[in-house]
């Protein structure tokens, strides 16, 4: 009983252990999120590229306004 050692203070190692555990798990979850986001972007871009040319033109071209042409009659002398 007299020779029983006191419980050592190892709380620093415990904190380090939990900190590292959460950092590693956090890095992995973040990597999953970033990979998923980047792949979604790639998919959207590739789907845009994969559209037929006529479809792309139809969405990109706007209806043209009638152009006023100046004729000789309209000019003031």
């Amino acid at each position: 009983m007299f020779f029983q050692e006191a419980t050592p203070d190892t709380s620093g190692y415990m904190i380090a252990g939990y900190a590292i555990a959460f950092i590693i798990m956090g890095i992995y979850v973040t990597s999953l999120y970033l990979r998923y986001r980047n792949l979604n972007r790639d998919r959207a871009m590739l789907e845009e590229l994969d559209k037929p040319v006529s479809e792309v033109e139809a969405t990109e071209t706007k209806p043209k306004k009638p152009v006023k042409t100046v004729t000789k009659k309209g000019r003031k002398k």
Partner: protein, 234 residues
């Protein structure tokens, strides 16, 4: 990642975060302090749980590997990769936590004893699995080699688990079952410690399922993008 995510998976994400929080609270504030090692022993709950999840995933990867080799369906290859990837992360974490625990307990960060050596070999085998896959461009050849490699590498897991039960002298304590070896650390676990350990193992198993589901979805999306790339470039 929230885009088009099934409701069940979102709920599982929430439950996983909650379970991790409860486990941390129980391990840090409820579990009794071990007399000979002090506070560092609280790392044990996470260390054992992550090791369990690591081993579970490596063994679980055997099933999709076999199914892939029989059916040649790429879906099973994606499931196998998901299992191995998550397990590699958790097993690595278990090794790091074990090392942190060992420093005050054994007065060394690392000892080449049975459990640590076999665990290091197992982890390196699975790191090599990704290196092998990265070196093969053809998807079917990559899947074939990956499946065969995962089957062979899985042998290391029961060896790692049983190593401290087979040898006569080890530093690593045996938590479950009996050992013929005499460990330098004798852990007399109280009933409260056992309850919290079992809860931690359950919590990390749920976390594994959640991450596994998320990783499979990532693999599916990766496959879609690959197919689109081929379609666009052809």
């Amino acid at each position: 990642m929230q885009q088009n995510k099934p409701l069940a998976l979102r709920i599982l994400d929430g439950i996983s975060i909650l379970l991790i929080g409860i486990t941390t609270y129980l391990a840090l504030f409820v579990a009794p302090t071990e007399v000979t090692m002090g506070a560092v022993q609280r790392v044990f709950y996470i260390h054992v749980s992550t090791a369990w999840v690591g081993m579970l995933g490596f063994i679980a990867a055997v099933i999709p590997s076999i199914i892939y080799l029989r059916t040649k369906d790429m879906k099973w290859d994606r499931i196998e990769v998901a299992a191995v990837e998550i397990s590699s992360v958790f097993f690595f974490l278990a090794i790091v936590l074990g090392s942190i625990w060992a420093r005050p307990a054994w007065n060394a960060w690392w000892k080449w004893e049975a459990r640590l050596t076999t665990a290091a070999i197992a982890e390196l085998l699975y790191f090599a699995y990704f290196m092998l896959r990265a070196g093969i461009d053809h998807p079917e050849r990559r899947a074939n080699f990956g499946a065969v490699y995962a089957l062979i590498a899985s042998v290391s897991i029961p060896i790692t688990f049983m190593s401290i039960r087979w040898v006569d002298r080890t530093l690593h304590p045996v938590v479950f079952g009996v050992s013929k070896a005499t460990s330098e650390i004798e852990m007399a676990m109280t009933f409260d410690m056992v309850k919290i350990l079992l809860f931690a193992i359950f919590a990390f198993s749920i976390v594994f399922i959640d991450l596994f589901w998320n990783r499979i979805r990532l693999g599916d999306l990766q496959d879609k993008v690959e197919q689109l790339k081929l379609k666009v470039t052809s």
